[in-house]
């Protein structure tokens, strides 16, 4: 064994308490303590196993070699040009009110429209905001929305997060153009821990697009994200996640939305890339008149594996939530949807819906759909439905009888099927970008 190998192994960072210390270097005391407690929770919590209902179809012990991953602790490489793939994706974005760029877990730039900044809108690196003593960060980071106590991965993220986004839109301020996070992971075999904390104050409005990209990797590369979204009374929030990692990418997100009285908090999860994608989304309806539209779109091919675990918690009466997740699966791809509507005691007048539809394009692709209801109030309107269907032979013949080649016909049917989701959240640029990304995938079908 050479000397060089020995040295490299000595400096090689692993997921462990020393990495927690490294990630927290320069943090205020409260945050170092919070990280340390989170690490304790992580160590005390067993890895989710296939024996648990929520992880039955995603075998993390086999798919995610946590011990072998090198955690990114947020050291930005100064002066480095942005990767080409990231620049291309950013160039496609149309008008933005602000943007944060994050490379390998470190924020490298923050831009915000000056007029919005003057109105009190804050868009910042989460790490900078924590260190600057922004009070909401201490109050809300990993406390109410995605605390360490939520599980193994929320705990790991709370201990090891290196950077992310803090966004606050003050009372009554309406941000009409989209604010964006553009993320890139470049190093194979790394683990990146990112947090997004968004607070929309009373009657404010914002839309936020969180896009993650990477090249293809030959080894498993983890991007773990905790998303904490607060919409205060009467606010309107849209959050979109575009997951377009390369092969080898393992995307694991815990998202929680807290919608107060008369606010709307809508989400769209788009999963197109990576080898494994697991999203845990919990929407909490906390006040009467709160509304959450929850949209999801996934298109898997090769051996891609997407697992969505959603819950709609109706805590308050007279709130509304409507979930629609649609996916197309080709190759040997696997799609899992598990959703539950929980109507808590006293949440009378709840309106809650849940629909998951899958289109299977090959013999080897599999879709599993498990919708569920848990109702503890009597005056409610709830429904859930799931379908798994094949490409309709009669529809293909119909299209081909007009001259379309088989692959053109298939593309049209798939785009039409998935397009329903996009048409429900027509955010500037998102529809075009997702459509292009799906079409690029369909070219290889």
């Amino acid at each position: 064994m050479s000397q060089a190998t020995a040295v490299r192994e000595e400096v090689r960072r692993v997921i462990g308490r020393s990495a927690v210390m490294a990630a927290g270097a320069g943090d205020p005391a409260w945050l170092r303590a919070r990280r340390s407690e989170a690490w304790d929770v992580f160590e005390a919590t067993p890895l989710p196993s296939k024996r648990s209902e929520e992880w039955r179809y995603t075998d993390v012990a086999r798919l995610l070699p946590l011990d072998g991953l090198v955690p990114n602790v947020g050291e930005a490489i100064a002066g480095r040009a942005l990767p080409e793939g990231l620049r291309r994706a950013m160039a496609q974005d149309r008008e933005s009110a602000g943007r944060i760029v994050d490379v390998d877990g470190a924020v490298v730039s923050v831009e915000l429209d000056e007029a919005l900044a003057a109105q009190g809108v804050v868009l910042a690196s989460l790490r900078d905001a924590a260190r600057a003593g922004v009070p909401e960060v201490e109050a809300l980071l990993a406390t109410e929305a995605v605390p360490a106590a939520d599980g193994k991965f929320p705990a790991l993220n709370a201990a090891l997060w290196s950077d992310g986004v803090f966004l606050r839109v003050p009372r009554g301020v309406r941000v009409d153009r989209t604010i964006r996070l553009s993320r890139w992971v470049s190093q194979p075999g790394t683990a990146t821990f990112t947090r997004i904390l968004i607070v929309a104050e009373e009657r404010s409005r914002l839309s936020f697009v969180d896009e993650i990209l990477s090249p293809h990797f030959s080894t498993v590369t983890l991007a773990n994200t905790a998303v904490e979204l607060f919409s205060r009374g009467g606010a309107q929030v849209q959050y979109v996640s575009l997951q377009r990692m390369g092969e080898g990418g393992f995307y694991l997100a815990n998202q929680r939305t807290l919608a107060e009285r008369d606010s709307t908090l809508d989400t769209l999860n788009v999963a197109l890339g990576g080898s494994v994608g697991r999203i845990d989304l919990n929407a909490r309806l906390l006040g009467p008149g709160a509304n959450s539209d929850m949209l999801g779109l996934y298109f898997g091919d090769t051996d891609q594996h997407f697992d969505f675990n959603t819950s709609q918690d109706h805590v308050a009466p007279h709130a509304h939530s409507d979930l629609l997740y649609k996916g197309a699966l080709d190759g040997a791809a696997r799609g899992v949807f598990r959703g539950i509507i929980r109507v808590h005691e006293g949440a009378q007048g709840t309106d809650a819906y849940q629909t998951n539809r899958n289109l299977i394009l090959s013999d080897k692709a599999i879709a599993t759909s498990l919708p569920n209801l848990e109702i503890e109030a009597d005056d409610v309107r709830c429904s859930h439905g799931a379908t798994v269907g094949q490409l309709d032979a009669e529809a293909l013949f119909y299209l081909m009888s007009r001259g379309l080649r088989r692959e053109q016909a298939e593309r049209l049917v798939v785009m039409g099927f998935l397009g329903e989701v996009l048409s429900k959240l027509p955010l500037g640029g998102v529809v075009e970008k997702v459509t292009q990304a799906i079409e690029a995938k369909l070219r290889y079908v």
């Binding site: 013949f397 119909y398 299209l399 081909m400 009888s401 007009r402 379309l404 080649r405 053109q408």
Partner: protein, 257 residues
């Protein structure tokens, strides 16, 4: 006018793919450019099977005889190749394609007719679509609706006619397009077919129907009566009128043996 048939069906035997049941038991038919032929017959006689075999429906299979279109062996061609060659079938039950607008569908259909690497000019397409919809007296908003999704029976058939008008086939096969239509919808369909024929007198039509009613709106050159998988009589429009008076029973009896 060229006297060689655009469509030549010779001794065609056909049935459902993977099935033993023979539905067409030797059909001969020649349609020349510009001719309108009507195929009439009772339910289960095989008249729709003929349409589906011509269009290339995957569930039907020719087991004997042949179909030539413009001199080419149609049975060797995929459905999309048949369409590109100039065959169009108006479906009896047009299929719903949710999320795909009629305009997008037609644009893709026209794009598919171009060479690889050639792009359909969107402005030209819009122009063509508007012109075609005007010809058929259709509201432009119709083309923005998803293909047949939630359409009434009449709207579905109008959509078939619009597609035919945009794609301008050499042979239009109308598979019981008239069934289930009220008289207004039937007239819309007939006006569309007649307008296209006026524009292109070379367009041939194979009109498959159960009822005589449509033939007073689209007047055929020849009427064929199909019973039990065979053409049992061919003649002028008067054949349809005789049928209307006598019903199919006479033919059934005559050909039962």
């Amino acid at each position: 006018m060229d006297d060689s048939p655009i469509l030549a069906v010779t001794g065609l035997e056909a049935g459902v793919a993977d099935g033993d049941l023979e539905i067409l038991k030797g059909v001969d038919l020649a349609i020349r450019p510009g001719e309108i032929h009507a195929i009439m017959g009772p339910n289960g006689s095989g008249k729709s099977t003929l349409a589906k075999v011509i269009a290339g429906h995957p569930e039907y299979e020719a087991t004997g005889g042949g179909v030539a279109f413009g001199g080419e062996d149609l049975l060797e061609m995929e459905p999309d190749e048949r369409a590109q060659a100039g065959v169009f079938m108006a479906f009896q039950y047009p299929v719903e394609i949710p999320g795909v607008s009629i305009a997008n569908f037609l644009r893709t259909a026209l794009q598919s007719r171009l060479e690889d690497g050639e792009e359909l000019d969107l402005f030209d397409f819009q122009e063509l679509l508007m012109e075609r919809m005007e010809l058929l007296d259709m509201d432009l908003a119709f083309a923005q609706r998803p293909v047949n999704d939630g359409f009434s029976g009449g709207e579905k058939k109008r959509n078939e006619i619009l597609q035919m008008a945009v794609l301008k086939p050499a042979l239009a096969v109308m598979d019981e397009t008239d069934s289930g239509l009220d008289i207004d919808a039937l007239q819309v369909v007939a006006r569309g077919v007649n307008a296209l024929r006026e524009e292109n007198p070379e367009m041939s039509v194979l009109l498959i129907t159960h009822y005589q009613r449509v033939l007073s709106h689209i007047v055929p050159d020849t009427v064929h009566v199909v019973v039990d998988g065979r053409i049992v009589e061919s003649g002028g429009p008067e054949v349809a009128l005789e049928l209307e008076a006598q019903g199919y029973e006479e033919y059934r009896k005559a050909h039962a043996a």
